[in-house]
Symmetry: C2
Subunit: 380 residues, 2 copies
């Protein structure tokens, strides 16, 4: 389970003379261990801190509050994996996960050899709680090394295990879009379409599945994106439905634009242009392609057709987060490589009136790209 | 908007000689400002840190990434409120919310008078990122004062504004339970009942509403609690449905136990005892009552009836978190006071077979308690 990720991380940490490290961002924890906390309504209520991964120079240990022990257990079965838990909920004393986590960290520090062996400690300082950082800083008698973005580039090329997780996830967005398409109609509200999509996903998955991103009608000023609200579709209204599902800690993404009732000439025209832009983008995906070049080609295509160019990215990578390297943006200099999973999502918007965005996912292969999303994006 | 909360916090901080403070826990941020980030699928993807509240000794400033500007705007309309944002998403450069947040904090430090005026800085060290804490520690040339739990006791008595938010929220759990009750039947899965409840809530609210907590059938080993999964109800199975909704940053809570098909003699018997325990608890709620006494009375009642005593709390407060002071637990020494909002949730469990838990919410009044939940908890 995620052995390849730990090999990549170890090589990087050792090459930079890091003796021990503490990872705290949810993305890093999932990527390093495969552990994805069950979908919560926020941070675990009895944890002292988010799940952490401690690297003592050799092995990776996952540190979670006891309430997450069952969810974390699979990592303990990896040949090089270990899970340690600390006390969270109790009815016998005030809840104090922070104190119990601190005690666990003290024991791990001692186990790893303490200051005799550890000089440089790497820390994800923008995710780790200050109190935990303070414990380490006091131990080493100085400051830690900030390693917040070190794993980002290592995450770009997906392992076969990750591609399998992502493909299972993209099947859910196909199900979501089929349900959304059926739910669209005059009088349906954004929230109704959203509920249809989510119910279809969770019924199919047999479990709760966190979902983003957008479900907004064209007459909303923020018609590029936003959460579904109490806005009803009127005849001729467009609805942008941009859906991510999170399954086993991995994100999907996808977008289609639906219309209630008659499609206007403008909607038909911009839908055609955006479809062509997406097809153009797909044709450019291959190993060696530079992200900034792809971005430029799609923007130019929209501009040449006489339409306003979308104000957002052309695309992005996806994995343990919904938006990660390589970004397909104007300044992009990343070079595509086999195993990357990329979203492309050109759009044309007339704020307050209508807009169209279409998005597909692609796995970069040895000689091109394989489309992972199969949802129907045609107009009615 | 939440002026009373800021008055209470200011009095506490000043009484402890704190010159400035940085709050980072989502609960503190919502309680101090009324700001509740829109329901997300985790941390804001482009933020440098979670939303923060900076107190410079006089005023409270809410610091959020620009993507949350619209959601945070209402706090700027409070006479003593201010919102400052920093750059998150851009297509013109790599995303670096952390750097922009750091610059904002530097300017606030200078504005507040720097080390000339600020000697003791209070910090929620278990929620604030270590990198932010490092910025402050370097400024003050030493360590900060940890204030993680300082607001907990101040939060116990709800303001009228909070009670209004909570009451709106408890109306949603009533809607959820009505839908769950209708969805229960032989062959229905946990996830199906859950979807019925959540769809009813979000359709009524006209927006996404994060929901916890449990939806588990009696034959599951973890039949006290757990997320809804792909388990189907068989004839005679019980189903514990324990629901929280999060609206405007405030939590509700509630529980009922449903049965598919014929109710067994044991289910009938324990349902009666748990109902009586809940009624007993409700009769004990009044200003001056001590939480540990209430806990003891309910456990004794279950034991006297000859049943195993539940292994969890008897109840808890609710507000910007789902489980907060005053806890109704064996060691409890909190004294109830008007304005507290309390859940009571006794249960009887036979793991792997069946179990019953019933839960209601109460507002402590001048001479007793007012029940806030009205969901039907009777057996069919």
């Amino acid at each position: 389970m995620h052995e390849e990720q730990r090999r990549r991380a170890t090589a990087l940490l050792q090459s930079r003379q890091i003796d021990a490290a503490l990872f705290a961002s949810p993305a890093s924890v999932t990527w390093l261990t495969g552990f994805a906390p069950p979908p919560q309504t926020g941070p675990h209520p009895f944890a002292g801190a988010p799940p952490l991964v401690w690297w003592d120079g050799e092995r990776f240990t996952l540190l979670v509050v006891d309430g997450l022990a069952a969810a974390a257990a699979p990592f303990a079965t990896a040949s090089d994996g270990r899970v340690l838990t600390y006390l969270g909920y109790t009815i016998d004393a005030p809840i104090d996960g922070a104190r119990h986590l601190r005690m666990l960290l003290e024991s791990l520090w001692a186990e790893a050899g303490g200051v005799r062996r550890i000089r440089r400690v790497g820390v994800e300082g923008w995710a780790l709680p200050a109190a935990v950082g303070g414990v380490l800083a006091a131990k080493i008698g100085g400051d830690w090394v900030t390693i917040d973005h070190w794993l980002h580039l290592l995450r770009m090329v997906k392992t076969d295990e990750e591609v399998a997780k992502l493909r299972a996830n993209f099947r859910l967005t196909d199900i979501a879009h089929a349900a959304a398409r059926r739910a669209v109609g005059v009088g349906a509200r954004e929230i109704d379409v959203w509920l249809a999509a989510r119910s279809a996903v969770e019924a199919a998955a047999g479990q709760r599945v966190p979902m983003g991103n957008d479900c907004v009608v064209g007459y909303r000023q923020e018609n590029i994106g936003g959460w579904p609200l109490d806005y009803a579709l009127r005849p001729g209204d467009s609805l942008i439905v941009d859906l991510s599902t999170i399954l086993h800690g991995y994100w999907s993404d996808s977008c289609a634009t639906y219309v209630a009732g008659e499609v206007s000439a403008r909607q038909q025209a911009i839908h055609t242009i955006v479809s062509q832009a997406l097809a153009l983008g797909a044709s450019l995906l291959r190993p060696g392609a530079v992200t900034g070049d792809i971005d430029r080609r799609l923007r130019q295509f929209i501009a040449d057709a006489g339409y306003p160019v979308y104000p957002h990215h052309t695309g992005h990578g996806v994995g343990v987060t919904g938006h990660e390297a390589p970004r397909i943006v104007p300044y992009g200099q990343d070079v595509l490589a086999p195993g990357m999973v990329i979203l492309l999502e050109p759009g044309i918007y007339f704020p307050g009136e209508t807009g169209v965005r279409l998005e597909d996912a692609f796995l970069i292969t040895d000689d091109g790209a394989l489309q992972l999303t199969t949802h129907d994006k045609a107009l009615p």
